[in-house]
Subunit: 352 residues, 2 copies
């Protein structure tokens, strides 16, 4: 099994020659130049990631949903009881959650991984047990986890990525579950971008004005406790969640294996930001599935120069927005692989 450190060391820059070849091939296909817009950009990106043009079909895709709880929940940052994390894990296992429905529609598998649920899950659910601890500590009062715990979660994510690649996945999709997990996401984004907490904090699953103000206050306390100028993995252990750390490992693991990694909402975006601060080669290997309603997600996309495929006012998480983008990503590869050329189809190229 690949560790996180091994995956990080194995990361390579994307292939600029394959990207140029894909861009050039697009000009030969029977359509006006650039007329498929962002689908063309996606095809070029897939070629750069795969190191070949046309890029291979990024399918089948595999979603990993990392679940964890958060000590900061006790501060009242979410209207949902903490027990909902475990209940939703059971719902994922039963196939009835949004991510299950949408992944089935997209032909993607769903693997649920417990990295930090604050409850004993019933046996036989089919959930991968990589539990590091039963929820994090309250990040407003103390580091959320120890460096050793953080490393275990990073390794769990990298191992899940390696397992999915070994069983045939050709595209990885980030998923998450953890009541209150938009709070550590905002903390990571504020700490790593330097933006004010209020600017990167959203309503999560739907908090009212009072709770939003409380959430911002808790986050400011957390950032104050944490201090400034620390290394990315110190920031992650201090302010992140166990599912965030696992997602960092998963993203780096998938990227190191040469697969496109499709990023969901603000939780995955905050994990990608940590990974991007560790390596310049990660963000180029990821695709932002959608632009979440959460302001922190948009801040990360802007910071890393990523364009989202979809913009549908989504704020559910679980990997849903990323899975919804899969057919478009697959179509981008198919256009390069299957469309006729002007020469081949006997179509006249435009004048001038």
């Amino acid at each position: 099994v690949t560790t996180f450190a091994e995956a990080l060391a194995a990361l390579q820059p994307v292939d600029r020659e394959a990207a140029a070849s894909a861009a050039e091939h697009h000009t030969r296909l029977t359509k006006p130049r650039g007329s498929l817009g962002r689908i063309e950009d996606l095809g070029v990106r897939l070629a750069a990631i795969a190191g070949t043009s046309p890029p291979p079909l990024p399918a089948p895709a595999a979603v990993a949903v990392f679940a964890g709880d958060h000590g900061v929940h006790a501060r009242g940052v979410s209207p949902w009881p903490q027990e909902v994390t475990a209940q939703m894990v059971a719902n994922f296992a039963g196939g009835g959650a949004a991510i299950n429905v949408l992944a089935r529609a997209a032909g993607a598998s769903v693997t649920v991984v417990d990295v930090g649920v604050a409850a004993d899950l019933p046996p036989g659910l089919g959930v991968v047990d990589r539990k590091v601890r039963r929820g994090t500590a309250d990040l407003a009062a103390a580091p959320a986890m120890t460096p050793a715990e953080c490393e275990r979660a990073l390794d769990a994510g990298a191992a899940v990525a390696a397992d999915l690649v070994a069983t045939g996945a050709r595209c990885l999709v980030t998923g998450d579950m953890g009541i209150a997990n938009t709070t550590p996401s905002a903390a990571l984004i504020a700490a790593l971008t330097g933006r004010p907490v209020a600017e990167v904090t959203g309503r999560g699953t739907g908090v009212d004005d009072t709770t939003l103000a409380l959430k911002v206050g808790v986050l400011e306390a957390a950032l104050h406790r944490h201090g400034e100028g620390r290394e990315p993995l110190d920031v992650l252990a201090s302010l992140g969640g166990l599912e965030h750390a696992a997602l960092v490992g998963f993203i780096v693991g998938g990227a190191a294996a040469g697969l496109p990694v499709v990023i969901d909402g603000v939780i995955a975006a905050s994990a990608l930001l940590v990974a991007a601060r560790l390596s310049p080669d990660v963000a180029d290997r990821c695709i932002a599935g959608h632009r979440s309603v959460e302001p922190g997600a948009a801040a990360v996309l802007a910071d890393l120069g990523l364009a989202a495929v979809l913009d549908l006012d989504l704020r559910l998480g679980e990997g849903t927005g990323a899975v919804l983008a899969l057919p478009l990503i697959e179509s981008a590869a198919l256009v390069l692989a299957e469309m006729a050329t002007f020469d081949g189809a006997g179509v006249t190229v435009k004048e001038g």
Copy 2:
């Protein structure tokens, strides 16, 4: 075979009770209220169109690509030779165009219909022959077609819709091919919205500044010749293309049959606008697949209050943007049909 007039008379308002039932069901599903954003709106819309909640899966989908040529091409409004229309029809028949690749990926069929190509197509291509005439007249100098020709194209579109419904299609998708056809589209949109020509005219498949200025001048001449205050079908015959008229028939035919009709770019949008001026019940039964780069398409969406599913800088036509939206539309139906409820999954609802 249903005529256009019969289809228009058969149009019904969408079912507000089914929509309300779908919206209420969304609140029982295991996700925060509204967290699937526009996917939830799409599900409600599908229920309203189908008249039942959960709505049936809008699949299989069927794309009809209506092809025609345009007398106005002789004015130099496009850099592409007119012969490319017939060449691209052959490319569709051979399965090598973008619409073929994207429809295969989405599990949709493609039917190509000649309603006005200015060439004799080789026999045996598998193209449906509904040719009304070999291209329209130059709309800047004379009515593009006679009322009788327009009616034949309208009937052709309605008949194709009826045929596709009869063979099992559960969702119709608008497609088009016709070199220079963004020019009549802009003419229809300017005439029916009252907006200035310059505001609704775009670069089509990629014209330069000089050609864009020429195109605006030709369109202003056409609008001047046409005059003001005419009935929608008079506007269509005077300024439209044969594929535009066929698309009006196709949209109305699909809507009358109770199927969702997915609208592609500016050509289909201009046809939808004609249909919407004929009946208040058409637009509610359509889904805007994407927001085209063409300004006229955005003008129609704004006029009719339609939100596009995708916004990917597409400007190809053929039905490509609409087909790319199909997996999202199908997912919207599946969410309502397949997701677990809070009660059923034993998940606690949020406090307050």
